[in-house]
Symmetry: C2
Subunit: 402 residues, 2 copies
């Protein structure tokens, strides 16, 4: 047999991608308690309402559901998403919005149509591993800027910008209940980032999957909404969101609000990438958003997350005391915790696997491969009782490790 030598030049092999996939395999074992995933709470899905929306969408126009649709998205759904964005303070018109297959695809299209290999992209450090993977595969020159419990440090962004030899293409940030830190960017920092984006002319990309899942504290408007207060910044402000966490990921509906010239390029990316998102799924999303069930189901969803966040915070405090520091989440799905003192995190992770509990080691969320005593814990998918058990297991793993 001739030897097979695939000459893979594209950088599509990342050890972290494999690590995440390994985690997913471990998490599939029902006796494992996983704080590692990014799945939303299945108990929050309004199954009855979604089923009704599917029936209504089909009744209204089965052929529209089953035929190709416009690449930008179903007209009615784009209007519904414009209205939803409006309720979040974002004024936009149809030319500035397109439907995507989740907000992951929204970010992917932005990257593809704006960033070529070697272009600089700024991110909060740590940040969402899925964004890091996309950036790595795009060949971006990623610069991570540290954040704190108030989100990415906008002054540090300014300092980095003053030192960069050429301007970055983009700054990517999850401003509400960040993945992984759970932190929310303050209004002051948002305004500052908008000023920097307008001055240095880069795309300020806010990914907002979790913002509607707030159970404590005050809502801060999206940067795209605040752009009206900062001259010229609306030309550089991009908003990504999704129904995956507040309705269901099963229909894979996200959206982009961007300046029309940027949105047009994303439409081009979508055209070559998958033609259009499922017209039936789009029609279901449209019916659901217009049925008022979205608004009426959301408080119950938020309560689920509140109860789980409380269970996790309380259990951790009780089990670890001062050995573990974290800010109590005000919304979203994640709690970011730091162990005090020296700790072999790989050993902790291995012991946790033995104890049948999973988490994301903090180092996975940094673009640089810094040592980190942090861990990302999702409280989304387990009941308060299971969360307590999981924390007990995690504590056993910790005791074995120190």
């Amino acid at each position: 047999m001739t030897s097979i030598a695939y000459n893979f030049t594209a950088p599509y092999q990342t050890p972290r991608g494999s690590a995440i996939r390994e985690l997913a395999k471990l998490a599939a074992d029902p006796s494992v308690i996983s704080f590692a995933g990014g799945y939303p709470a299945a108990e929050s899905f309004d199954l009855h309402g979604l089923r009704q929306a599917a029936d209504d969408a089909w009744e209204a126009n089965p052929l529209q559901c089953m035929q190709y649709g416009a690449t930008e998205g179903l007209h009615e759904l784009r209007d519904a998403l414009l209205e939803l964005s409006e309720r979040r303070g974002i004024h936009a018109n149809t030319d500035e919005l397109l439907v995507t297959t989740g907000s992951q695809q929204a970010f992917d299209f932005l990257l593809r149509s704006n960033v070529v290999s070697g272009d600089t992209v700024l991110v909060e450090n740590p940040t969402y591993p899925g964004a890091l993977a996309a950036l790595r595969l795009a060949g971006a020159n990623v610069i991570g800027i540290d954040g704190d419990t108030n989100g990415i440090d906008a002054d540090a962004v300014e300092r980095v910008l003053s030192m960069l030899p050429s301007k970055p293409k983009m700054l990517y940030v999850v401003a509400n209940f960040a993945n992984p830190t759970g932190a929310t960017l303050t209004r002051e920092r948002r305004i500052k980032l908008l000023e920097l984006a307008a001055r240095h002319q880069f795309l300020l990309v806010e990914d907002d999957p979790y913002g509607a899942l707030r159970f404590a504290g005050e809502t801060v408007p999206p940067m795209r909404a605040l752009a009206s207060e900062v001259p010229s910044s609306e030309h550089w402000s991009v908003y990504l969101s999704t129904l995956s966490k507040v309705v269901t990921p099963g229909i894979r509906i996200g959206w982009i609000v961007a300046p029309a010239a940027v949105a047009r390029r994303c439409v081009m990316a979508k055209q070559v990438s998958d033609m259009c998102s499922s017209p039936w799924n789009q029609a279901i999303a449209n019916e659901y958003l217009r049925s008022s069930r979205f608004e009426s189901n959301l408080p119950g969803t938020i309560e689920i997350y509140r109860a789980r966040a409380n269970a996790l915070s309380d259990s951790l405090r009780q089990a670890f005391g001062d050995n573990l520091s974290f800010a109590k989440p005000e919304g979203g799905m994640f709690l970011w915790a730091n162990f005090q003192g020296k700790l072999d995190m790989q050993q902790l992770f291995d012991n946790a696997v033995t104890e049948q509990v999973l988490f994301i080691p903090g180092s996975q969320c940094y673009f640089d491969t810094r040592a980190s005593n942090s861990l990302r814990l999702s409280y989304a998918t387990s009941s308060p009782e299971v969360i307590q058990q999981g924390v007990a297991r995690l504590h056993r793993a910790y005791v074995k490790t120190v």
Copy 2:
């Protein structure tokens, strides 16, 4: 106001993309008869069966429908698609198959994970404009090789390969009822391409959206099926297909069969691109393929295409006589025709728009911008009666042009 200067370095602005989008706008006018689109016949959709499949998928496991799923695809659907591929002569295992959002996404992932800017990709000339757009945006060095009524000229491929300074990454071909030419690649040429792929070590990518829509002539096995006859070629053979033309595009389900190492890279691309295809849509596809309605509905679908292909062929022959040459289609959706003698194709197109009939000018399907007296006509979306009217309009436009 500061002037806005988006520094777009990524090549996401193609005049042809805009031209196609302009066409789509024109085609939306209900008084226009369009031979330009790539939509399948809506009358072929098994609405009752699809609705039943959706109900069954929901009944079986609503939470699975509404939660994220594995990036590779729903396990049951992958098995169903392996069985469907098997019925087409393709033996593969689970590691070699992943679910995509249509075959457009399948090609996109193959490109992203294998081709970097400057890499050489061979295509038939003319070829599917959607593939050309994806290749252009990927920055590929595209080499078009002419075909005839038997598909791409495999001897010409061999000559090109012998002259290339470095080996290509890929050869892309629609082997059955090609878009745009309608031609089917002969078995001999398929074998030859497999030999060349194995010898020169490039991915031989067969895109097969239409192969099951044969209404005349003999089926030729996919190259991935014939690979068993050509040593080592199975390591270089990739098969893409979709349910969009034989079931419905509304659920956006396609798939890739590729060597495991290549498939793994496509899974990585899917992970950063959209996490997973809609689990509900996947469950619907699975139920539908297993319900036997797929097989029982297909003959009726094929009859629809046969009747429309006949109507188009007969009307063209009657209206244009020897002024227009074409091979009568044996399957698929497209008829490729060439005008005899000199003709101003832009003028013909403009006159056709005035007469409210649309087609794709052949030049859109060439990577080079050669002059072409050809046009691509899709007979998929209009009834035989409407096709006759459309041809009468096209003939009036022609008479005004010559």
